[in-house]
């Protein structure tokens, strides 16, 4: 059975990031998560595979930390997970990430469709689908709002800045879906239990021959400084709180 592959990334949760007073960034308390919109890509793979009788699988490029992601991904309806492993994944740029994912897609074989999300919640670079398509020289359609597969033909409606564009292509190919195209479902207890028993394949970047060297160097990482007064008006009387805020706004001269 041919595969529909959802690519996903295990990222640090941005809401756990702490900012130090010198604007350096403390990631040490940050927990991992499957990048928000990648859950939509997983949902897309599951739904499309169901519609055409293909096998929905997940693919991630990640360090040893990404192990935690596998069960989560599999509980979302995927039947098998593939993990291209390298510690370098944590600082990989778009070029290295796409090379690793493309190598994983080649290695698993029999892939009809690759689905990426619009962008990852950490870098939000929006490169991966297009780069994978180029590396594998497959047709690519990005910004997909609606998609149907009939036989070998994919018809997709793209949402662009000033138009809705309908295009079609023959499988195999790569698409990126907009977050609003597929709403992820929250996995139930049964799905979570079943996930532990589903197959996982690990690939080593070395044996896949993935070039992990990038021509991009990170020079500096700095927090954005946010200076706000954070005056929370207290009290049980809503009308009094509203009056206090309005009077402050008048004093500020913004009313």
């Amino acid at each position: 059975m041919s595969k529909i592959v959802a690519c996903y990334k295990w990222v640090l949760d941005e809401s756990d990031i702490r900012i130090n007073s010198d604007l350096s960034v403390d990631f040490s308390k940050a927990k991992g998560k499957i990048s928000d919109y990648d859950r939509n890509a997983i949902e897309a793979a599951v739904k499309l595979a169901e519609a055409v009788g293909a096998k929905p699988v997940g693919l991630t490029f990640g360090s040893s930390k990404a192990r935690q992601s596998l069960k989560d991904a599999l509980s979302r309806g995927l039947e098998e997970a593939f993990w291209v492993k390298a510690e370098e994944a944590e600082n990989a740029d778009g070029a290295v990430t796409a090379r690793a994912l493309a190598a994983g897609i080649k290695a698993m074989g029999d892939v009809a469709l690759v689905i990426c999300a619009e962008g990852a919640s950490d870098t939000y670079a929006r490169q991966t689908a297009s780069r994978i398509g180029a590396l594998l020289d497959l047709p690519v359609v990005t910004s997909v709002l609606r998609v149907t597969v009939e036989g070998n033909t994919v018809t997709a409606v793209r949402k662009l800045d000033d138009c809705l564009e309908t295009v079609k292509f023959e499988l195999p190919g790569v698409i990126s879906v907009l977050p609003e195209a597929f709403q992820p479902t929250i996995p139930g207890l049964k799905a979570v239990m079943a996930a532990g028993k589903k197959p996982v394949t690990e690939y080593d970047c070395g044996s896949l021959g993935v070039n992990l060297v990038s021509a991009r160097k990170v020079m500096e990482v700095k927090a954005y400084a946010q200076e706000r007064r954070n005056i929370i008006i207290e009290g049980d009387n809503a009308a009094a709180k509203v009056a206090a805020v309005v009077s402050n706004l008048k004093k500020e001269g913004v009313l």
Partner: protein, 301 residues
């Protein structure tokens, strides 16, 4: 011919990117895919305009051709307008070249065989400075650089596009023309609002404040209660009003990046732990269904 090669499906952005390259003392060449597009950029002050001519109406289908062309011309940078199409074409070109790319940068500077860029990561909580070596691709949103003038020679090069993705149809999407960027006051509404008819209350608040209405992504893209150009954040609009009143918004960074240039931010949320209270100047912990009507009353006084 070293130099910076510019592309945008929006001619206005292409003009700005030429301005960016020329201001840095670089040679600037514009790539277009049609005669009409060439007309729109031939007075951009670029050194040359290249029409890559093929029989395909989807610009992204020229990615391989552009990659080959950039190599042949020994380009140092492919500078692309960060629109949906531009990002896709740019990343595909970067894929065919297997070269570095920086997306949606807020700053760019040119060094010897290198470019240094700055961009937001983690939804806008953090900025990252990167150095790209060798032929690279960078995307930049419109509105960052000033266009210049001067006529450019136009040259046509015949190329072979990738015809595997076929255009079926295009339906233009009308913009309502709300100018959030220029608004002095904005009422921003989030998923705390339960029903579409409750939006009337938000419109009433905006009316007494003489404010425009903005929203979070979910209100536009999931609920469709407001058009997409009215949502604010990293993938939407960025506003800088005197006053931003945030109603029923949790305040995650992907949204607040779009409001943080406001002079004063007021937030109403019934969850005292909502992150919006860390991003606001004045906060009211309370039910918006109680607070908004009171606000309207108080402002009418």
């Amino acid at each position: 011919m070293a130099g910076v090669f510019v592309y945008s499906d929006k001619s206005g952005i292409a003009l700005e990117l030429v301005g960016c390259a020329k201001a840095a003392g670089k040679e600037a060449m514009v790539i277009v895919f049609s005669q009409e597009a060439a007309e729109e950029v031939k007075n951009s002050g670029a050194d040359r305009v290249f029409i890559l001519q093929g029989d395909n109406e989807v610009p992204e289908n020229y990615a391989q051709a552009v990659a080959d062309f950039l190599k042949e011309k020994s380009a140092e940078l492919f500078l692309v307008g960060a629109t949906a199409r531009g990002r896709d074409l740019a990343a595909r070109v970067a894929g065919y070249l297997d070269c570095p790319m920086a997306s949606d940068v807020s700053a760019i500077s040119f060094g010897d065989g290198k470019v240094t860029t700055e961009r937001m990561i983690y939804g806008g909580a953090v900025t990252q400075k990167e150095e790209l070596t060798g032929l690279s691709v960078v995307t930049v949103a419109g509105g960052k650089y000033a266009p210049i003038e001067g006529s450019a020679e136009v040259e046509t090069v015949t190329v072979t596009p990738d015809n595997r993705v076929q255009l079926v149809e295009r339906a233009p999407v009308e913009r309502k023309g709300v100018n959030l960027q220029a608004a002095d006051r904005v009422v921003c509404v989030g998923m705390g609002v339960e029903k579409e008819e409750d939006m009337q209350m938000i419109r009433d608040l905006a009316a007494v404040l003489n404010a425009e209405i903005g929203c979070t992504r979910g209100i536009a893209e999931e609920k469709h209660w407001l058009p997409p150009e009215q949502y604010i954040g990293i993938s939407g609009a960025v506003i800088k009003p005197q006053l931003c009143v945030s109603i029923g918004i949790s305040g995650q960074v992907q949204h607040t990046i779009g409001i943080r240039d406001s002079k004063v931010i007021v937030a109403v949320n019934n969850n005292e732990k909502a992150p919006i209270f860390k991003t606001c100047d004045y906060g009211i912990v309370g039910d918006l269904y109680e607070v908004v009507p009171l606000l309207i009353e108080e402002l009418k006084k």
